[in-house]
C-alpha cells in the first residue's frame, strides 16, 4: 500500500488523458499524480501513523462523470477573471455571458420594495405561496403573452427561471426518453440531459454525446434544421429567437416543426426567453402555431426582459392538451414535480413580475429591450463593416459572427488577449458552433461602443 509523495505543484495544464478532464484534488492522498516531467509515479510507503482520508462507499453518479469539463458560462467567467488578473489595467469589456447590465425600471423595483416592506406587517405578511405561482401573476402572464392564444392562468407555472425549469422538465421526463437539440444550442439542454441519464458517453471525435440527436443549424440551412434528416426523438428542444445564433424561426418553419413533432409523437420544449427581441413578424410563442398545444411546452423568462438575471423569475406553459402516450396529462406530472422538488419563486420576485406586466411596466421593459437592440445593431454594423459574415442580431441580443476555418476558442482567446473583450466561443454551444463567436449585446452603451472600436482596430 503506498501513498502519494508531496504533490508537485504543477500538474501540467495540458492535462493528460491519464487524468482525464478532472483534476484530482491534491489534498486527497489517495490520488495518484504524475510528477511534472514524467508519467512515473514516485511512490513512498505510508508511515504507519498516517491516516488515509476516509472515502465513502457511495459510487459517483456515472452520469456526472460523463460531463465534459464545467458548465460553459462559469468557464467563461473564469477566463475573464484570469485575464483581469493578468491585465489589471486592461479595462475588460464583457460581451460574453448574456448578463443584463441596465438598471431595472423603477416601477418594477418599487413593486418589489413595496412587497418587502409589506412582509413586515400583519396584513401584508405572506408565507408559503402556491408552488405554481401567485394567481395574479399567472393570470397576468396568461393574458399578456397568451391572451389571444386561449391559454389560461392554470396552464402557467411560475418559476425561478428557465434554467431551473429545464432541469425540472428533465426530472419529469426521466432517463428513458431521447432528445434532440439544435446544434449549436444553449448548453443547459444537453447538460441536463446527460445528468438525467438520457445520453450515452461523449464522443471526443465528433464532440457529441451518444443518443442525442443534434440538429445542425448553420448559414447553409438558414439556421433551421433540415427536418427530413432528423431522427425521431421523444423530446425536441428548440429555442427561438435562438441563443446563440440569434435566428428567429419563421411561422412557416415552426408550422413544419409542429407537424414534425405531431407526426413523430414528440414533445417540443420551446424556449422563448428572447421573444421580446423580435423586430419582425416572426412568431413570439410556439402556441401561435395551430396544433402546438398538443405537442409543445413553452419555457420563458423575465431575465432578459426586465433585467431579472439576479432577481430570478420565469415561467413554463404546459397546455392541458399535452398528453403522454397513455393519455396522462403532462401538466399533472409537472404540477407534481413543482410541488415536490420546488417551493415556488420568491414572493418578492413575483411582485416584481406583476409590476413588469402593468402597462407602465410593459412600456418600461420595452424601452430597456430597445436599448439592448440598439447595442445589437451597433455590434452587427461593426462586424459587417469589417467584412465578416454576421448572423442573428435582428431578433435577438446576440450576434453570431463567422470566422471560417478557425477554432472558436482560439478566436475567443485572441479577441480577449488583443482587445480585452470577452465573447463566447461558438463551440461551447455544440460542434456546429465552431468557427463562430457569439457576441452578446448586453452592456452599457459606452462599453459597447468602445468594444466595437477595439474590434475595428483588431480587424481592420
Amino acid at each position: 500500500m503506498y501513498s502519494l509523495m508531496s504533490s508537485s505543484p504543477s500538474i501540467s495544464s495540458s492535462s493528460s488523458s491519464f487524468l482525464g478532464q478532472t483534476h484530482f484534488d491534491s489534498r486527497n492522498p489517495n490520488a495518484r499524480l504524475p510528477t511534472k516531467d514524467s508519467w512515473i509515479c514516485k511512490c513512498v510507503a505510508t508511515p504507519p501513523t498516517e491516516t488515509t482520508a476516509h472515502t465513502t462507499k457511495v459510487s459517483r453518479n456515472a452520469n456526472m462523470a460523463k460531463l465534459q469539463a464545467g458548465y460553459l458560462f462559469p468557464e467563461i467567467a473564469r477566463r475573464r477573471s484570469a485575464h483581469m488578473l493578468k491585465y489589471p489595467d486592461g479595462q475588460v469589456i464583457s460581451l460574453g455571458i448574456g448578463d443584463t447590465t441596465e438598471p431595472i425600471p423603477e416601477v418594477i423595483t418599487f413593486g418589489m420594495a413595496k412587497k418587502a416592506h409589506a412582509l413586515s406587517t400583519l396584513e401584508g405578511y405572506s408565507g408559503y405561496g402556491a408552488e405554481q405561482g401567485e394567481k395574479q401573476l399567472r393570470a397576468a402572464i396568461a393574458s399578456t403573452y397568451y391572451g389571444d392564444l386561449s391559454l389560461e392562468e392554470s396552464d402557467i407555472f411560475v418559476s425561478d427561471g428557465a434554467k431551473s425549469d429545464i432541469s425540472r422538465l428533465q426530472v419529469m421526463f426521466g432517463s428513458n426518453v431521447t432528445m434532440a437539440v439544435q446544434d449549436p444550442s444553449y448548453p443547459a439542454y444537453v447538460d441536463s440531459s446527460v445528468i438525467l441519464g438520457q445520453t450515452g458517453q461523449f464522443q471526443k471525435d465528433v464532440e457529441k454525446y451518444r443518443k442525442i440527436e443534434y440538429m445542425k443549424c448553420n448559414p447553409e440551412n438558414g439556421f433551421f434544421p433540415d427536418l427530413s434528416t432528423v431522427s425521431r426523438t421523444d423530446i425536441i428542444f428548440f429555442c427561438s429567437p435562438n441563443n446563440p445564433t440569434g435566428n428567429a424561426a419563421t411561422r412557416e418553419q415552426l408550422t413544419r416543426l409542429v407537424q414534425f413533432a405531431k407526426d413523430n409523437g414528440s414533445i417540443l420544449v420551446y424556449d422563448s426567453a428572447y421573444a421580446m427581441y423580435i423586430s419582425d413578424d416572426s412568431p413570439r410563442s410556439i402556441f401561435e402555431i395551430p396544433g402546438a398545444k398538443e405537442v409543445a411546452i413553452e419555457v420563458s423568462s423575465f431575465s432578459k426582459y426586465a433585467g431579472f438575471t439576479g432577481v430570478r423569475l420565469g415561467w413554463t406553459v404546459v397546455p392541458k392538451e399535452l398528453l403522454y402516450s397513455d393519455g396522462f396529462p403532462v401538466a399533472k406530472d409537472f404540477n407534481r414535480i413543482v410541488c415536490t422538488t420546488f417551493n415556488g419563486a420568491s414572493n418578492i420576485s413575483q411582485a416584481g413580475g406583476l409590476a413588469c406586466l402593468s402597462p407602465e411596466g410593459l412600456e418600461a421593459m420595452h424601452k430597456v429591450v430597445g436599448f439592448y437592440q440598439e447595442n445589437t445593431n451597433i455590434i452587427m454594423e461593426t462586424f459587417t463593416s469589417l467584412g465578416f459574415s454576421v448572423y442573428g442580431g435582428k431578433n435577438a441580443p446576440y450576434v453570431w459572427v463567422h470566422f471560417p476555418g478557425q477554432s472558436s476558442w482560439d478566436v475567443f482567446s485572441e479577441i480577449l488577449e488583443k482587445t480585452h473583450v470577452v465573447t463566447t466561443p461558438g463551440s461551447g454551444f455544440g460542434p456546429a458552433g465552431d468557427g463562430f463567436i457569439r457576441v452578446s449585446a448586453f452592456g452599457h452603451r459606452g462599453n459597447v461602443l468602445e468594444a466595437c472600436k477595439r474590434f475595428k482596430q483588431l480587424y481592420k
Partner: protein
Amino acid sequence: MLLPSILYFIRPSSVGFVENGLVHLCVCTRVTRNLNMEKLRNGYLFPEIAMRELEHMKKYPTAKVISLGIGDTTEPIPDVVTSSMANHARRLSTVEGYRGYGAEQGNKALRKAIAETLYGDLPIKDTEIFVSDGSQCDISRLQLLLGSNVTIAVQDPTFPAYIDSSVIIGQTGDFQDETGKYQNIEYMPCRPQNNFFPDLTTTATTDVIFICSPNNPTGHAASRKQLEQLVEFARANGSIIIFDSAYAAYVTDDSPRSIFEIPGAREVAIEISSFSKFAGFTGVRLGWTVVPDELLFSNGFPVIKDFNRIVCTCFNGASSVAQAGGLACLSSDGLMAVQSVVDYYKENAKILGDTFTSLGLDVYGGINAPYAWVHFPGMKSWDVFTELLEKTHIITVPGCGFGPGGEEHIRVSAFGHRECILEASRRLKSLLS
C-alpha cells in the same frame, strides 16, 4: 353527438374527454410517461392538506378555521431584514447598484456570514456553503447529484420530500399498499420506545441516510450521543448522511445544532438548512447546503465538485433580493430580531404541548422544534385529522402522511398568531376533555 363524460380512446393515438359540456379530442404524443412519476402515491402531502382546508372552508364559510397544519410561518419578518431587501430592490434601479447574474453558489458575503455566524467555531469554509432557494429544492438537487443507483434510508416518520424525490429520481421500487412503504427504501422507525432515534443495530446499510434533527414531524432533537453513533455508523458503512437542520434555531437544550459538531462528520455528511422557519422566509425562499471538501465518493472524487456542477447547470442562484435579506438576518440586529420570532413560536409550541398533556394525551416534541407530535392510540391518523377538523375547525397533519410510522399520531404545528394558538387550545380542551 353526445359522448359520455369519461376519458376514452377513440383511436390508438387519441383521447377524448368532456369538460364544461364540450367534447375535447386530443392527440396523444408517443412519449412514455416517466414510470417513476407513476410510482408516486397520491399528491404531495402538503397540497393535500391545503385542499382539505379549502374544502372545509367552503363547507363552513363562517367557521374560523385555525391552521396548525402546514408548517407555514405567520409572523411578520423583522423590519431590519425587510428594509434591507427593499433597499436592495431599489438599488437595482441604479447604475451603481444594479446586479445581474450572481454566483450560482451564492453571494460571497452571505456565504461568509453563514459560515462565521451560524457555524462559528466549526471549521466550515464559505466555499463549502451553497446558497439556495430553499431545502425542498436542495433535496432534489442532491438527489439529481446522487442519481438513481443509490439506496436511501429515511426515518419513519419523516418529511415526505426525501421519499418523494427518491421515487422521482428512480432510486426506489413500487409502493406496497400493505406496508405503506416503497420497496428499496430502508425505513428506520422512530418511536417513543427508541427515543425517536433509529436503532442502528437493526438498520440495513444504504448509500445515503436522511436524518432531520430537530425532527419534522416528531419534534425530537437527536442527542450528541445519538449523532455520534450515527456518524460512526455512516463511517463504518461508507454511507453519506444528509442532515436536515432546518429547525436548528428551535433547539432549547444542548442538543447539537449541526451535524458538524460531531467529530468525523465532515467525511460523511452533507447538511441542508433554511431561512424559512428561522426568519419567516417561507415565501421569500432562501436556504443553504454545506458540502465539506473531505466528503468523497468511493473513487475519491469530491462530492462538492459534482454538487457545484449541479448548482451551475440546474440552477441559477437564489434571488439576489432574498440573499440581501439573508445577510441582514445574520447581522447582530437581525439575529436578535429573528430569534425573538423563533421564541414566539416556541412559546406557541409550549402552549399547545401543555394543552394536549393536560388532556391526558402523550405529547412529544415541542421543546426543540415548532411541532407537537400527539399520540392517539388505536386511532387512524386521517380519522383523527378529520374529526379534529370537523369538530374544532383546526387543521393539523395526519401522522401517516409522514410514513407508516406516523400512524396513530397527529402533527400540530406551532406557527400561528398567539390568539389563534390560544383559541385552538380552548377548542381542543372542549372537545377532548
